[in-house]
């Protein structure tokens, strides 16, 4: 009797589509956490739910075998939320911002907007024919190497053999534009956050304002912490 139940449960387990199960699990976590981001009052908890949602999305990528994209998702999006979290913590250090109340009118407006966007996305997703087929399994082991080659201008996936030098389809130009852009941002951030030279206050300034007498610590001030985070 017991053995029968065991074998039945075994065959039941074998019937379950584990890939689909984990897909649904991660998708559900992502969706519910995303909803919680909107519905929570506390900024830090919002950030936490956002991390959960983005992390579950990374899980979806790993499930699909796109390890590079998954790791990217963890590094950029989940890691980027760190800065958001820091901002949240600094904001909620003051008591009036611990709970952010959204007016009911705003909620309705946001709901309508989100529903419209969702409708467009769902319609688009289901109208693409090749997406309607059931999963074809893993086509090939994806590696990051073709991606890296494409970034420096060689599309190994497109031109298999002969006309390699003719293949101009790489992403070298966008890659360079993005790199230069990021460099500019980095330099700008460093410029904005640089330590201001402390001037010895003149007697005139002293009389003008009392505030300037206080030795300003440029090191521990919140702006330095934030700029460190913003990088």
């Amino acid at each position: 009797m017991n053995q029968d139940a065991f074998s039945i449960s075994l065959s039941l387990f074998a019937l379950i589509d584990w890939h689909g199960f984990f897909f649904l699990l991660f998708a559900a976590i992502a969706c519910i956490a995303a909803l919680m981001v909107v519905l929570t009052d506390n900024v830090v908890r919002m950030a936490l739910h956002l991390i959960l949602s983005l992390g579950a999305t990374a899980g979806l990528f790993f499930l699909a075998g796109a390890e590079f994209i998954g790791a990217m998702q963890l590094m950029i999006y989940v890691g980027g939320t760190l800065v958001l979290l820091v901002f949240g913590v600094m904001l909620t250090a003051q008591t009036q911002l611990v709970a952010l109340r959204t007016p009911a009118g705003d909620r309705v407006l946001a709901g309508i907007l989100a529903a419209a966007l969702l409708a467009v996305l769902v319609q688009a997703a289901f109208s693409i024919e090749s997406w309607q087929k059931s999963g074809q399994g893993i086509v090939s082991a994806p590696t990051a190497t073709p991606l890296g080659m494409a970034l420096v201008g060689v599309r190994v996936d497109q031109s298999a053999e002969a006309n390699l030098l003719d293949a101009k389809g790489g992403y070298l130009l966008p890659f360079e534009i993005v790199s230069v852009h990021l460099l500019v941002v980095l330099i700008g951030a460093a410029y904005l956050a640089r330590a201001k030279r402390r001037r010895v206050p003149r007697p005139v300034d002293l009389m003008a304002s009392v505030d300037s007498v206080e030795p300003r610590s440029t090191v521990d001030s919140p702006s330095t912490v934030l700029s460190g985070g913003a990088e």
Binding site: V44, L82, A144, T145, P146, M149, V156, D157, L164
Partner: protein, 406 residues
């Protein structure tokens, strides 16, 4: 492993995979928890010796080697306290977030050439990305504790970790560039053979960048002299001021796990990974062809090699911790932005030029004399993975590269 269970024993597919996943998770958990037990004891002994004391001597006989276990029982029995104003959910969650991040990074870490929880072709990237998530636990703890000490500690940690990720990433890129892969298994395998094949001895630039990596690694796991998040002389205990008992010990398990992780990563990236300094197995004629179904002993020796190197790294961290005084926050930032980052960038450039102009090393043919030891195994396993898509295979790719460079 799972294929072996399915084909030889005939277990159902789902059961075999689940069992193997469970086994891997169990083993990794034991590496972290067991490692923490040993390392905490070692830390107390080393700290004591450096400060001319004896350290624990009684519990468990001669060297007090059961001290950590006794501590563990004490922590289990402690009352689980929570401050009144704390955010209950986040306060309870924070230790687990820290621990999970540390645990997740171990999944992609190979212990020997095919002893790895899940072999990812972007292993290095994954490990570095997940390691950066540990700081979330610390920030949540600092925020949820409703205590100024905790909040200060968490903020310092956030600033520090985010800054040190930049030079750390640059250091990690160098071995990736030398090996031509982000797969940790491939990187380790490329350093097989004599110790001169290790990437740290590849050229002068890699030797310097190894020490930059060490600095950044210590900073990214918050060990002294970079332990500003704890800073017991200023902030009581920093982000874990309000924690007690088992929750507190979770933070410590995460810390010791991360210490072991960055040390193991250093071993794989620079110190030859699971390859010993002398290729004993190759000298005995084991490696050629055997590697595809390597005997258990070979893997075991590989694991031991890696554990030895990683433990040496952890001990080095302890030595540094009990030798150097804590840096101020501005000194921490100066170290990162004015020293580590420019040095790492310059060394990165140097390694790149070295690869271009002296790819064989100073003495031609000396490097990589035995680097092809298990190359066969690597390519074989790779082909198995991407058997479907011929155009993307490694061989084709290298041909493409050579054509382009021509």
């Amino acid at each position: 492993m799972a294929e072996f269970l399915i084909e030889t024993i005939g277990l159902p597919t789902w059961f075999a995979w689940t069992a193997i996943a469970g086994l891997s998770a169990f083993l990794i958990l034991n590496v972290i928890a067991g490692g923490a037990l040993v390392f905490i004891w070692a830390e107390r002994k080393i700290a004591a010796r450096i400060q001319d004391r004896l350290g624990p001597t009684r519990t468990g006989g001669r060297f007090g080697w059961l001290q950590s276990l006794a501590d563990g029982i004490k922590l289990l029995a402690k009352e689980d306290l929570m401050p009144d104003g704390a955010d209950a959910l986040l306060f309870r969650l924070a230790p687990y977030v820290s621990f999970c991040a540390s645990f997740c990074a171990f999944i992609a870490l190979p212990f020997a050439f095919d002893t790895v929880g899940q072999r990812l072709n972007v292993g290095v990237f994954f490990v570095v990305a997940v390691l950066g998530l540990e700081v979330f636990g610390v920030i949540l703890a600092g925020y949820a504790s409703a205590s100024k000490w905790s909040l200060f500690g968490a903020m310092r940690e956030a600033a520090q970790v985010v800054s040190y990720e930049v030079p750390l990433g640059m250091c990690v890129v160098v071995p990736v560039m030398l090996a031509g892969s982000m797969d940790l298994v491939t990187i380790g395998e490329k350093q097989a053979g004599w110790a001169m094949n290790w990437f740290i001895f590849h050229d002068p630039f890699t030797f310097i960048i190894f020490w930059v990596y060490c600095t950044c690694a210590i900073a990214s796991v918050n060990r002294a002299p970079f332990d500003l998040a704890e800073a017991e002389s200023e902030l009581v205990a920093g982000f874990h001021t309000e924690y007690s008992g088992l929750r507190w010990s979770f933070f410590f398990m995460a810390e010791y796990g991360s210490m072991f992780l960055v040390s193991a990563l250093a071993a794989i990236l620079f110190l030859g990974g699971w390859n010993g300094p002398v290729p004993v197995s190759e000298l005995l004629g084991f490696s050629d062809g055997v590697a595809a179904n390597a005997p258990f002993a070979l893997r075991f020796i590989g694991c031991m090699n890696l554990f030895l190197k990683a433990t040496a790294g952890v001990l080095l961290m302890m030595w540094i911790r009990w030798t150097l005084p804590r840096l101020r926050i501005d000194q921490v930032m100066t170290t990162c932005l004015k020293y580590c980052t420019p040095i790492a960038a310059a060394m990165f450039l140097g390694v790149m030029l070295w690869q271009l102009f002296l790819p064989g090393g100073l003495v031609p043919g000396s490097f990589r004399a035995a680097a092809g030891v298990r190359e066969g195994w690597l390519e074989q396993s790779y082909r198995k993975e991407s058997a479907e898509d011929e155009s993307l295979s490694l061989k084709n790719l290298s041909r493409h590269i050579s054509e382009v460079s021509r």
